[in-house]
Symmetry: C2
Subunit: 523 residues, 2 copies
Amino acid sequence: MKRRDLFRMIGAVAGSSAMYQAMTSLGLAADSQYAGPIKLQGAPKGTKVIVLGAGWAGLVSALELRDAGYTVELLEYNNRVGGRAWTIRGGDTITELGGETQKCGFDPGLYLNPGPWRIPYHHRGYLDYAKRFGVALEPFIMVNYNAYVHSDAYFGGKPQRFREVQADFHGHVAELLAKAARQDKLDQAVSKDDQETLLEALKEWGALDKNHAYVAGHDSAERRGYAVNKGGGLMPDPVGGPPIALADLLRSDVWRALTFGQTHQWQSTIFQPVGGMDSTPKAIGKSLADITTLNAKVTAIHQDDHGVTVSYVDARTGKDQRQAKADWCVCTLPLTVLSQLDVQVGAEMKAGMNALSYFTAVKTGLQFKRRFWEEDDHIYGGITFTDLPIRQIAYPNFGYNAPGKGVLLGTFAGAAPGFELAALSAADRVKLAVEQGARIHPQYTAEFETGVSVSWHRSPTTMGCAAAWTPELRAKHYRNLAELNGRVILAGDHLSNLVAWQEGAILSALDAITRLHHRIVAA
Amino acid sequence: MKRRDLFRMIGAVAGSSAMYQAMTSLGLAADSQYAGPIKLQGAPKGTKVIVLGAGWAGLVSALELRDAGYTVELLEYNNRVGGRAWTIRGGDTITELGGETQKCGFDPGLYLNPGPWRIPYHHRGYLDYAKRFGVALEPFIMVNYNAYVHSDAYFGGKPQRFREVQADFHGHVAELLAKAARQDKLDQAVSKDDQETLLEALKEWGALDKNHAYVAGHDSAERRGYAVNKGGGLMPDPVGGPPIALADLLRSDVWRALTFGQTHQWQSTIFQPVGGMDSTPKAIGKSLADITTLNAKVTAIHQDDHGVTVSYVDARTGKDQRQAKADWCVCTLPLTVLSQLDVQVGAEMKAGMNALSYFTAVKTGLQFKRRFWEEDDHIYGGITFTDLPIRQIAYPNFGYNAPGKGVLLGTFAGAAPGFELAALSAADRVKLAVEQGARIHPQYTAEFETGVSVSWHRSPTTMGCAAAWTPELRAKHYRNLAELNGRVILAGDHLSNLVAWQEGAILSALDAITRLHHRIVAA
């Protein structure tokens, strides 16, 4: 008996919680709750499931239920599958709520991922589907030491290099702690024996000099970079520049940029699919083409003891009302959309559907005549952080060091600036991204060609970026939303602890269809 | 007038030192002393330069002198160009000093870079040649948070994840410093106003809880990873594991692994050429094929007022003595080799040639039946660090998440373990790499197929890895080695501040041929 089968058995007998406790005690559950490819056995012949929404949760549900032997029908509002896992390329048109239509003018090979754009190494569900469908992955550069950290009001508005900010923050922290340790001010928190090693570690890690000071010179330059770098032959000797003062690091808030790449969900090695984020959903969608109806805007979900009836219209015209019937329904529509429909579910689930608001996000892609961030600024991939409303500039993580045009992400704003930007037209969001970005890269002005902007609150099929759970809302509504409600079960990243991640949608779908299948088989 | 031309003019008039001072004062010299493609104008017709060695320094010298109008002859000991910038693939044979010959048994597409294996973003000379010769680059993963840090004597020999070691070191440092700050023990080094921000920064950066303590829980798990990760639907709630105690981090030396990726030469974004490190030298070498003689082992370099005469034999037989004559000579042979030849240069240069010893390095490549480090251990690219003599295990930075075989770097040892390993036969070095690696990845035993090992001290053409400069040796010998000596000028990474880096060889060559050209034109 394979270990996986053992855990499945424990899960079947004692529930998934017991299964994961067993896995954890054996050190197997770390990193992911993805337990390998799902196997649903014994689907009753002729049982039909209707799946609503062909984003990740809907695609996974439809794929696995179909493969398990169910009759599946998949309805999708958009004229494409993938949901927020979407890639915009030249020729694509985008119509936002309010009616503004953009036509993307990017050159071939260039794109914007307006939704998710990276795959953590521990998102094993995603990685497994990418492997099954032969989608190639390439590294996403999360930490680029030569990218900028920009504070508009500090350093005369001049962007600082990430390597300088991190090295100087570490250096100052190490110097302060070393000083306290040498003056015996650590309050017995570190034993006398360990104190020597602590000082050695702080010296090496913080790039301190032999007096445990963080100063301009070779030690600090080996981390923050050189003012005059190392050369060959009789070129001048290398010179290290002066560190940024701790007070300036703290007051300017640039230290906030340091934690991103150290946070579990963004730690290296982190990936992007080669060619765009829609690669994997497209590949799965292709295998489901014969059971998929695109441009199907759901208007009502009714159920009774015998089955589920879903009403939908043609999303392009709002007309041509149709009905689809099934024994069961997996509904992956965002709660923003679902809560506005005529849905026959219990009061507690309804309350949950109505309780959640959604985070916002705005992304803007900008095409430039040349890759000046590489050619002039020596920034290859990665992210520049700024306190301007555009928040981030992210450089393409492919085609490095090659000539030609490039598209970078010129805005990635959530929260307050995200809502402010959402109030602008797409054209104005593009204009603003160019203006603000030019404060960091003056080349923007001369090199800009064309842009496209997506505000998720203005997307008719999503009306928001991701569910804004709080601990209180989660305690009150999560289980009511996740439990099977009559013949309807919900799934999606909103029903996971990985909100806004594709993996959340995948795990939610696998969990939902497993419970649904067990319910069906048990009946 | 372009800025570049202005600096060239300053350089021509006032010397390169003045040029770089001017560039630095304008903030332009940071990051590299590479000043863009070299342009040597006015080469006297019919002047011949012989270039010895077709590693990076020799290739760059031959290429640029040839393009400037010189008649160039290039002699190379090996049967290939590139020198230490070398890639070993299936079918290649390697014969070491002592006579042992290995035949590499790797599958197609798999390889070992036994010499340099990464290109920092600030090695602009390299990047420019890669661009000129159309060589594609891909990211080298320097920091992999899910790779291991292994101390054989601590944690029961169980490897720790890099993310746990770094998060816990940061957390303990932040907690200690926050405590000292809150108890007003920082000795006025931080103003009262800044102290509040310092505490906020330490809390966020160190993942401290609301009491500024670093403990098991959500905050620390968001950095070190979860014992039970986040799931979807009704999967169990995430659980954070307990941090490693500071005393264990310090005593086990695992903290030493934290600085690699933060050191300027290894900071992201850092690259490798697609397909192997020999790509760029091979491409340059192809353009020089008509002026290159391979298998030419230099035995003597003589010079007089009229020219230089280089004697060489067929490296395969040791016979067939020939002579090549030229007006000038650029000699890029390693000093280990050069110091053993009959070379007519001044006493001071001779003293320098004899004074330097070379660092050692051993690399061993291992092919496995499957990529278990990805499939089982979820390590995609990057490096595991251990205090075993193998020192590092580096995973391939391409073909992620794909099925099939893989070659990893099973040993990268310098210093003491490097010399110990160099004393073993290649077959024994492979055996030892498998045995020691199995303590970290038990799958080694069942999955190993074939290996190949290179000890640079046993390479007949190099007899060492790189020049072991000390500040004292540099003060005494560097300039004497770098100055034109009669009609002979030396170049190579050994004559740079970037020893063991391809960029050092490139910058050294550009500097040497510029000075040589100016001397020739001035005559």
